[in-house]
Amino acid sequence: MEQLRTIGRELAMGSQGGFGQSKEFLDLVKSIGEARSKAEEDRIVLSEIETLKRRIIEPDIPKRKMKEFIIRLVYVEMLGHDASFGYIHAVKMTHDDNILIKRTGYLAVTLFLDENHDLIILIVNTIQKDLKSDNYLVVCAALNAVCRLINEETIPAVLPQVVELVNHPKEAVRKKAIMALHRFYQRSPSSVSHLVSNFRKKLSDNDPSVMGATLCPLYDLITVDANSYKDLVVSFVSILKQVAEHRLPKSYDYHQMPAPYIQIKLLKILALLGTGDKQASEHMYTVVNDITRKADTSSNIGNAVLYECVCCAAAIYPNPKLMETASSTISRFLKQSDSHNLRYMGIDALSRLIKLNPDIAEQHQLAVIDCLEDRDDTLKRKTFELLYRMTKSSNVEVIVDRTIDYMISINDSYYKTEIASRCVELAEQYAPSNQWFIQTMNKVFEHAGDLVNRKVVHNLMHLIAEGFGEDDDAVDSQLRLSAVSVLDHFLFT
């Protein structure tokens, strides 16, 4: 059935010239698809490149044909070959007045080039002109290009125009203008610091997409300086409440959840604003509880929102009811033995709550151990992170032993180093006895010796030489003897 459908589609495309493409292009794609080896595919592509090189410099090529050549160039590059000879033609296409040709030019240029390319200079002028166009589709295409190709140096050339577009009658333009400003902020914070009021104003834009777009730069700004935005807590809570109560247009629903991505962004922002601030947090408890209650637990997106609620609860000033709700969410995630994704999220959420409620780990011991022993490496890795966070003097021996065993099985040296240094850190902090400490350090050196920071080894040697501050000299020298003999074994084998 699948076969018939694809054949039918091919025939249809072939006869109509395939959505505007020529037969040559279709043949190219087909022959690449049918190639039986990489070498054959490379040959076809290289021959296509030669053809394009020849034909693209011919005089008086009709615009539609040029558009097709550029698309073929994009295709060739996507397959991993170099089409840089054609970049200049893509740039030229952006100058064209016809929106379709211009649009294809912009698309090609955003795929071929990046913000540091030399050819950008040739495009900035066109972008400046297009940002002022009467046709909002042209403005949108230019804004798309801005988001990709403008860097710190070229920001001043387009900034004033982009700022004006934040108030454009078309919501698509406003939205893209906000995202462009956000990108400017990421590249060069000082360039837009005086424009922050724009973001604040657009938070109350009529169009939910524009409001949603404003959350991106606001999140970054709040991350850097939460205090200046505490006055917005009430607004954010109010927006979140409205979204959760289905007051946005139905088109923002996704799998029965109302604008879940906007909810998630808002929860992240509230988490930042409520951290360590009792007053701010008190505004949030009700709405977060409500969302947790109403979220659909059977869909991925519902669980994604629930997870974000737990993260928020863990970050803001603690509230017992919220903690309880968070805890039951985690329980539910961890009990899903057939869903690795949910167990993973559960472990992550657990490690966030640990610092607020250390007992919570005990409640889920069995589930955690199951995750620890799972074949899924990603899940195991996440669980070891949890163990690291919940280590204390009473469980350090078990945890460090387990972690060392895990460390031995790791192949990736970057990750192995990370785990080795974690073991060292935990051992240093919570070691119940000097003896255990030395034995543990030796095990780490034995299996990851060349990865451990030299400083650690040096410190250990220093300590052995100086003694452990023992009052009893006999005990001290006994320890030194045992330490030396263990190290001796290590150094000379």
Binding site: R103, N144, A314, R375, Q429
Partner: protein, 174 residues
């Protein structure tokens, strides 16, 4: 004895201790950023590659190869999230195609997973029951759709209707 031990070591590890006590503290401002999106088939052929961070061509090839190797043989029962270098790749398989998204900070992986699904739903709507060939022959349109969905590495628009309408306006001109 234990107390003396700890105080000596704690002095050496003050910074690490602080980091451990504040695991949720954020110091980077580039959160919620998508680094790249890939569509690859089972053989590793790239059907779509969109990068939101600057990368050399040779780097891109390496990345595409590594990501494919990472996900193609992964047990479908395992998580849809894998570590990739110092980032994370969220992926999902639809028929013969792997959709993958590389993100900067590990944060709400489920939401990104559904992001991928939303994108597939949009493609399905636009191409009326999409299949791999649609994406191959119309890859430039898929890029245009993607540009309406994600911009500068951030989710731009989450209303399917809005995106389809925007594409409709462009189609009318063709």
């Amino acid at each position: 004895m234990v107390i003396a031990l700890n105080s000596k070591y704690q002095a050496m590890n003050l910074i690490r201790l602080r980091q451990k006590l504040c695991p949720n503290s954020v110091s980077l401002s580039l959160q919620w950023q998508i680094r790249f999106i890939l569509l690859q088939n089972r053989q590793g052929k790239t059907r779509l590659a969109k990068y939101y961070v600057p990368l050399e061509d040779s780097e891109k090839h390496k990345v595409e190869y590594e990501v494919h190797r990472l996900i193609v043989n992964r047990d479908p029962k395992f998580t849809n999230f894998v570590e990739f270098r110092t980032h994370k790749v969220i992926y999902r398989r639809y028929a013969g195609l792997f959709f993958s998204m590389c993100v900067d900070i590990t944060d709400n992986e489920l939401a990104y997973l559904e992001c991928i699904h939303l994108f597939v739903e949009i493609l399905d709507h636009f191409f009326s029951n999409v299949c791999e060939l649609d994406l191959v022959f119309n890859f430039h349109k898929v890029y245009l759709i993607l540009d309406e969905f994600i911009l500068a590495g951030e989710l731009q628009e989450t209303s399917k209707k809005a995106i389809i309408e925007r594409m409709g306006e462009l189609e009318k001109l063709e």
